[in-house]
Structure formats: C-alpha cells, structure tokens
Symmetry: C2
Subunit: 490 residues, 2 copies
C-alpha cells in the first residue's frame, strides 16, 4: 500500500462488476435467508463448494487448449493445471457427486447458493458476477422428484410475498418434444434442425402462430429486416408441431394425440400426468403450476421434465412498454450429470433461481414509500470530554436490541444532524450540558421532523413548537426511543 507518489491508479470497479450497498445488500440477505428456510423445510441439505475448480473437472472446454477461456474466467496454477471460476453451481455438483458417489445417501438432495462468474461481454443489467440458488435431487428417476421442485419453487415465491397470480410455474417435457419431432418425421440425428425447431417453439409466446410457422418453414424476416433461416419443414410436419404448440393441458388428450405412437413421447406424457396428480394432491392448481408446450429451456442439456417459474405482473421495460416481468427460475431433469466424469448415467433433476433477477422482480413489486428511516439511532457528541456518557447511551440502546451508533467524527452539532440525516437515522439522541445536569436526554424524531417540516409553513412556528422532539429522564431513554420507533413503524 505504498508507491503513492510515482503512480496513482484510478479507483474504479472492474468492467461488468458492481457494488451492492446497504439497502440492496440487506434485501439480498433476507431473500437468501427466506429461500434457505424453505429449502431446508423440504429436506434439502446445504453444500458449499469452492469458487475455483480445475477447468477440466468443470467441463465445458478441452483441457489441452492453450487458453480455455470461452465464457469462463480461467488461469493456470503454479503446477500448470488450469483453474477456473465456477460458471454455475451444477458443474461443481457433478464434480462433488462423482468424487463422493459411494458415500452419499441416494437420492442425494442438496441446495447451494453463491456467486458464479461469466467471462462474457457485460451490458445494461448484465453482470459478470451474479448469484444463483440451486436445489437438486441426484439419484432419483421418479417424476415425484421433478414435481417436488416445481412445488418448492411455488412455495419459495409465496414465502417471499408473491401471491397467487403474481407468479406461475410452467412445466413441459423434453421427451414430449422429442416425441412430437419423431412423429413429425424429423430425423433424430439432425441436431441442427432439432435446435432450429426448439428455438422456434420457444418463441411462440413472443411471435405467435404466424411467426413460429415461418420459423418452422423457410424462415422469418423480423421488424429490423433481419432474416432468420427456418427449419425448412414440409407443411404437414409444421402442422404436427403447431398442433402441439397450441395444445392445452386439458386431460393431456391433445398431448397424447400429438405424440401418437412415439415411445419416448408417450413416456414423457405419462411422467407429466404423474406430476399433475402430485400437484393436485399437494393442492397446487393450474393457477400456480401449469403445463405449457411452449417451455423449452437450455437447448442441449435436459432429458425429461423441464420447468420455469415466472413473475407474471407487468413492469415497464426500457422502451416504456408494459411487459410481463418474466422468468426468475428454471430447471429440469438432466440424467447425464456425472456421465462425463464417472461414465455412468445417474438420474438427476434440479432447479436454479436467478437471485438477482428475482430481487429485481421483488423490488419492482414494492410500492415506493418515500424516504425510509432505516438507519441506526445516532447519539450526538456535544462535549468530547463526556464521550463515555454518550457511549453508554449507545451501548444501552444496543443492549435493548436497538441499532445505535455514537457519532465518531469531529464536527459540530449542525454537521452531526446532517450526518444523522444521511444515515437515515430514525432518532437522534442529544444530551447537552443542561440536560446532563437535569438528568435528561432529548430525543429527536427525524421521520416526524421531516414530515412536519413539509407541513409547517413558517420556520418560526417550527422552532417554537419543536413538535418532533421530546425530553425524557435519562432512565427513560430506551422506552422513549422505542416509542418513537414504534410510531415510525406504522
């Protein structure tokens, strides 16, 4: 920390990163605590893995590349092995399960929350570090495991204050999609065409029937004139897929129709039906969990049921349009979790909440209530030689569970009051020589003061009345502060 003279680097955040200050940090901590309580109640166990893993154990890139940096922050260790920052919480879970497979209870049910890092181009609202909150059940092939995660998502959102109608959990099955494609005569080996079709289905919400029809056919020109090449399917193939995309969940008859004789498709529908029965048994109707043929999720990853939780209330986007807030969590079954590391297929299903996005959703739901006085009580220091007395006041408030601080600067009364404002203190505690002699303290209600100063017209009237400040005996300090805080809490 020396070298000050010759070179002064600029104090600046790294590109694509951000600081989180008090209000947001508290909201984040509270939300994580609330999620944790719900996940614990469902019997998931916490696990913490390190931020840094061997790049080859994390997967996603070849270990023999010189700089395997695509989308991931990576760097060579002293011994020339490549290290990488985790880019999600699933790859570390795969490493953990593969490493401890024999010792783990099966099914193994764990939750984990933490930062993940992406070495990607940042943009507005797109950061290179963000928080995920995952729950996974490893070693169970039962649709009950998938159903449970959907219920978990619904309960988590409700625990965070979302009401019925504020959110929806949508469910589909990759097997059903495969069955539909099989019946439409799309060759299973034609991966490129599969992806184009899945992408088209994924856009049904946004583009509607006409748009999807074009994307399944020759292609589509968007508003800006850009042309997206289509899947080049025949009309009867397109019809089969459109029949599926427009199927509702009514008794699953329509779903069974479109998958026809496809074995994988029928198995997919049967799993969804089993999940439906469990939703019903748990009291989760279609106002909270719905089957939706438009849900696709990640393109090359999932192998069975897939699900997504979205906040459904309207927010205003950058262009001033009112849009649905949208997805805050997603997941599904991915039976290849440890295949790459262990060479065996272990059934697994999981859900991941995008915590930062969820927080944005929760925040947009809260009404703006003007200035919030959420700071600590500030004890002013009027006579430096009586610092001990002032500190006792702070200490006494803390012992009563009240957030309190002693003013630690060296400025006068006026600056101290400004400081209290900046700290959004609800109360300032003042004890000058007179009050000390009489064994009293003055308590200033800063919330009331702010409100009244808007109402009272003349400064004179204000000074005379001082309605927002009371003088109490020193022994009544805690009771007096509590009374003011209770007033503000209303």
């Amino acid at each position: 920390m020396s070298q000050g003279k010759e070179f002064r680097p600029a104090a600046r955040l790294a590109r694509g990163f951000r600081d989180i200050s008090a209000g947001d940090a508290r909201a984040r901590l509270e939300t994580l605590g609330c999620l944790r309580a719900v996940y614990e109640r469902f019997g998931f166990e916490p696990l913490e893995t390190p931020a840094i893993e061997y790049a080859d154990a994390l997967g996603k890139f070849l270990p023999d590349q010189d700089r395997p940096n695509e989308g991931v922050f990576s760097f060579a260790d002293d011994d020339e092995q490549w290290l990488a920052l985790r880019y999600d919480l699933t790859a570390p879970l795969a490493r953990y399960v593969a490493e401890h497979y024999d010792a783990l209870p099966k099914p193994f049910r764990r939750y984990q929350s933490g930062a993940v890092w992406r070495n990607e181009k940042p943009g507005p609202g797109r950061f290179r570090e963000f928080i995920q909150f995952d729950a996974d059940t490893v070693g169970s092939a039962s649709p009950a495991a998938d159903a449970e995660l959907c219920i978990l998502a619904a309960e988590a959102l409700e625990a965070l204050g979302m009401a019925k109608g504020d959110y929806i959990v949508k469910v589909n099955s990759r097997k059903v999609l495969d069955g539909v494609l099989e019946m439409a005569g799309v060759s299973p080996g034609d991966t490129r065409r599969h992806l184009v079709i899945l992408r088209a289905i994924d856009k049904f919400d946004r583009l509607g029937l006409d748009g999807v029809t074009r994307l399944l056919g020759q292609g589509r020109k968007d508003d800006s004139g850009d042309f997206t090449k289509g899947a080049e399917l025949e009309p009867q193939q397109i019809q089969r897929i459109l029949d599926y995309v427009t199927a509702t969940q009514a008794g699953f008859d329509a779903w069974r129709n479109v998958v026809g004789q496809s074995e994988v498709g029928r198995s997919g529908v049967a799993e969804l039906e089993a999940m439906g029965a469990l939703f019903e048994a748990a009291g989760f109707g279609s106002d909270r969990i719905q089957f939706d043929p438009g849900i696709v999720r990640g393109l090359e990853y999932y192998t069975g049921p897939v699900f997504e939780a979205a906040l459904t209330f309207a927010v205003t986007n950058d262009k001033g349009e009112s849009v649905q807030f949208g997805s805050v969590a997603g997941g599904g079954r991915y039976d290849g979790l440890v295949t790459r590391l262990k060479g065996i297929d272990v059934p697994a299903t999981g859900i991941s909440i995008g915590v930062d996005r969820l927080l944005a959703g929760l925040a947009s739901r809260k009404t703006q209530a003007g200035t919030v006085f959420d700071g600590p009580v500030v004890v002013l220091v009027l006579e430096q030689e009586r610092l001990g007395d002032y500190q006792s006041i702070a200490q006494e408030l803390r012992a009563a569970g009240i957030r309190a601080e002693l003013y630690l600067g060296s400025s006068g009364m006026r600056a101290q009051m400004k400081y209290a404002d900046k700290r959004r203190a609800p109360v300032a505690v003042i004890q000058g020589g007179d009050e000390f002699a009489k064994g009293e303290v003055t308590l200033k209600d800063l919330a009331l003061g702010t409100r009244l100063s808007g109402e009272i017209e003349s400064a004179d009237e204000w000074r005379k009345g001082q309605p927002a400040q009371v003088c109490v005996p020193r022994g009544g300090l805690v009771a007096g502060v509590k009374e003011i805080l209770a007033r503000g809490a209303k």
Copy 2:
C-alpha cells in the same frame, strides 16, 4: 457436458480448496448471521463488493508486470487489463471509498463478509479460499472509533456463546511502539531494524524475556539449531524495550515512563487512555479487554491503536500439547487507506474476523453429543400408486414448519430405513395398506430406536416391544411428530 468417450477427467477438488458439507455449512451460516446482527446493532451498514477487481486498484503489485501473481490469483481481461481475485476485504473498501468519497456519509461505517483468495502454497488447515468478516470506520480519527471495534469484537464473541474468560481482546498502539523505539535511539529511517525489533516483541509470549533479549541483541539459535540474526542493539537500548514489553497496564504509568518525551509515544499512550475510559464506561473490564505491549499485528500497515481477539481456552495441538486456541480476529488503525488511490490521508480503523478459524474455535468448545439426528423427517413410500398421499404427509409437516421429505428413490422398505439413518432423520413416517385402511400412520422415533437398540439385549425382545414406534390417527400426524421431536430436543 458431452465428450464422455474420448477423455474422462478425474473428479477432484482443486489443490488447496475444500467442500463444506451440511453440518459445517449450517454452522457457518448461523455464525455469519449472528455476527451480522451484532454489527447491525452497532450501526454498521452492509456493503458487498465483487470478487474480481482491477489488479492495480487492489494494490500490492505493480500493474506493468507481465504476470503480477505473487500471492494473488490474477488474469488478463479481454482488453489486456489485469484482473485479480480479492485477497482481503480492505483493498476493495479502499477502492470503494476512493471512488465514492464525496457522496459517502463521514464517518463511513461498513461491514462486509465474504470469501477471499490467496494464491499461496496450501498446507494442513491452510486453504486458498477462506471467509473474512470485517467492520471498518472510515473518516474518524477518534480513539472512540477504535474502542468501539474492541467492544464490538467482545460482544460478537459473547453473542456466539463465549463466556467471560473464554476470550480476551488485547490492545496496543503502534504509536507507543514507535515512541519506545525513538527513546531507545533506533533511527526511524532504519526500517529493517524496526521490523526485526517488532518481530522480536511479537514473540514475547512464546519466547519469554530471554528469547526476546537475544533477538534484540546479536540473535538467537532455536531448538532446531537455526540461527535468527538479531537487531544488534546496545544493552541500554535493549533494556528500554524490555521495560516496555514487561510494562503492565497499571495506570499507564509504566507506559508513560518508557515513551518518555517522545511526542508520538505520548500521543499513543493518551489514545490508549481514552480508549480505556470508554471500555470502563461501557462496563468492559480487564477480564474482557486488556492493554498488552506484546501485540504488534501486521508489520508495515498500522498507524495507531492495534487490537486482537483471542480465544483463551486450551485445545490440543497436532503434537498432542495443550495450547491456548489463540487469535480469531485482529485489526487496528491504518490512516493510509486511500492514500495510494486518492492522494489524501483519510483516518480509518477496522477489525477483521477470520471466520473459518473462529468456527474451528467454536466447534472445539462444543461437547460431542454422539449421533445427532438433525436430518429431515423422512416419509417412506411403500406403495408407489399412493405417492400423492405420501406427498400430502410431507407437505402437511412442512406447512407446520417441520423439515420433511418424501423418499424419492425406488428401493424397498429396508433400504428406505437405511436411507433415513444416513440422512440422520429423527422420525420416519410409515403408512402401509393396513394403516391406510384404518386411517392411521406409524411414526418411528429413530433417535430413541438407536438408543434402545444399544440397551435391549435380545433382538427378539426388541421386535416384540417396538418401544420406539407409535401408531397415531392420520389427523394426529403433526402433533405426533412434534411430540417425538420435542423428546429428542431434550
């Protein structure tokens, strides 16, 4: 996640990192929550900074080096700027304060907890990722700010269950040390000698008077025969320093004597006296906070009061010796916080808790209570076609605030009971066809069962009695489970 055939990387933790499983993860979360509550009560605000910063803004190494990797994980960004993982929480605070200096309330009081990374050689119990919990007051030169951090440390340890006598907070002043050296006639410009002397004082606890005397003189040969070169002071210089090292806090007279006419030394003693008055006013006697001339802390960093919190109870070390657990937190005043970035001296003081070390200390204080049944209640699945009923049971328990899970595997009753044991479930809920017909459920008290199976001699006797299992009406499920849990909690 494909490429499975051609190459299978070993699933292994990166060198120097570790996983934290359920029990430890919960203890960590609880401890962090408890610390947070205390820091909030003292009026500190949470701040979260990113894990990644620009290497030059973090400091500690030159930005124009090709690979500025000493002790820090660093890597080049796309635009060739060097990024680094934070190695503590103070350097990011300095960057934050310098960046937002004008907008911050002054003093600025923040706390932050989070992982930090050191690119160092790992060893037993030495990891390359660990958690720190810091509180700092920036912009206050008052000894009240330093005193408050010492009180905060004491209150935090007590909130975590440490009693008086389990811990001690020790306080010294870098200014006093400088004053003593000045009076001993050690040239202030002789940095090397300063360091040798401070290191010697730091070892007083371990080496005693004789060892320190040698280190202040020609040098000292340790038990292994290694020779440490000394500070090569004259006998009267050595005596002056020994007078200080053996000074007690009695009225600070001894301290004042050794600093004599040194201005910096006298100012240091005056600050400690002011802190002592505040400790007294807050009711913290020398059984909790002590002045100790042996405390040195970090060698080139601090500029005023320094402090350290240690757990004082005995633990057994690797060699089987009984030793004091030792330091879990440390800090002090460092008025050069933003000098390097902003070119101005801003007074600052802070304390950092080594959370992993603290957790080890708390754990060693807890008595081993045999097997802990801290898992969720496990609802067995005896008839797959009644999955919905079993799920309702789990759901009902969760709604009552009881951690519960449905068995999600595909194995039979015996394997399910084994699973419940492995999950350390306190209760297994069983409902076979008979019980279902009668509208009943069986609750198995697994804690009691484990205890009894150790007591009852014949397996036959055990089977007949089944004292650890009760049958209750389906409507009495929650009450029945609660009763068993309450029994276990005793």
